[in-house]
Subunit: 211 residues, 2 copies
DNA sequence: GTCTATACTATGATAGAC
DNA sequence: GTCTATCATAGTATAGAC
């Protein structure tokens, strides 16, 4: 096993959302998250995870029934945090399509910039799961995508948006957030809140919103 | 080994650019490309590749010295095709920043939509390579990224573009193309040329180009 | 350039003591 | 809940015949 590449993926103080309770289970998820993000799920052995925690490999099986279940837990946590952030943002947004897009995109961007390791694992490794373990997360993903598309289509119906192609534009808007972990450096000159505002502005420009 | 998930990644007639000559070497690269795209590099064994070609595993070593070298060849081919497409597009674009952006983004989108498997492997598995095998491709990647940023900054200097943040906007524009393999279906209602025009339009909107 | 055979290592997971 | 010990399998790669 080669000593990790992907130095672009920084070490983080709090790689997992606070919804995951403290304890050995959380420590396993944190170690697995770092390793899966840098080496991939298949590139990481149960022994790698155990070594990172200074445990014996067998000790992990008291907390998770298999390596796949560790990944499944990460994927689920990531999708839940993302979906919850979008849902909460919509509650505060009022009924103007512009404000709704701004709220959704800000939440989308903040989530990806705050938990970049989780975003990478969720997006690159979900396919390593058997369908039954991936399914709950994929339902959430579908709902989140549908939420953005509905807001866009309502804006079009109200004459406030004029995207060249609603579905392709929704994909382009979503892509900005998904790609954050691959270029954005959290400690740098651009803070997360500013990036979120930039992405909201770009989304509204793509939609042809006035003002 | 589970029977492949990722049904979203379609089977393609010509998954590799024509720059790769016919022969066993190309057939190995094509089989490895399909498998790496659907199961990942670490999730694919040399036995899987051999089985796909109805060869014995040892036969592969007459063509490539290691599994890593197969991936390295794919990553290099992908980056070369992409970089060459951008370079050629710029030659035809003239000196107007709007036309240059349109040419670059059209080429970026066409490349990703035409070779989605290669795009996925190049972007998700390049980290599985040791630095010395990844280096040539990363040079090309950096040059391609710099090309877009230079065009944007020149447009800003000429007063034709007004992006909220040139670097973040360049990343957002690039992200549209990179994410194509994850949602776009080549056989569907939206053809590649139309998608390329949509992405060019979205890029110019993000940049605040007039007209 | 492909085959058979095999060396050697790494892997996911389990058994059973404490 | 963690340990030591171990199993069964799968992994990359090589040797040598044809």
């Amino acid at each position: 096993m080669r000593p990790l590449p992907r130095s672009r993926l920084q070490v983080q103080k709090e790689p997992l959302p606070r919804t995951v309770p403290e304890g050995t289970r959380r420590r396993i998820l944190e170690a697995a998250l770092r390793l899966f993000a840098s080496q991939g799920f298949h590139g990481t052995s149960i022994r790698d995870v155990a070594k990172e925690l200074e445990l014996q490999p067998s000790a992990l099986y008291s907390h998770f029934p298999s390596k796949e279940h560790i990944l499944a837990a990460l994927v689920q946590v990531g999708h839940e945090a993302h979906h919850e952030a979008l849902r909460t943002a919509m509650l505060d947004a009022g009924n103007a399509p512009e404000a709704q897009v701004r709220a959704l995109i800000r939440a989308h961007t903040v989530t990806h910039a705050t938990h970049p390791l989780l975003a990478v694992v969720v997006n690159e490794e979900v396919n390593a799961l058997p369908p039954e373990l991936a399914a709950p997360a994929l339902v959430l993903r579908q709902q989140s995508a549908a939420l953005l598309l509905q807001v866009i289509e309502r804006g079009v119906a109200l004459g406030r948006f004029s995207p060249p192609h609603p579905v392709a534009t929704a994909a382009a808007i979503s892509a900005m957030g998904v790609r954050i972990p691959y270029w954005y450096e959290p400690g740098g000159a651009l803070d997360i809140d500013s990036l979120a505002n930039i992405h909201a502005e770009l989304a509204l420009r793509m939609l042809g919103a006035r003002g």
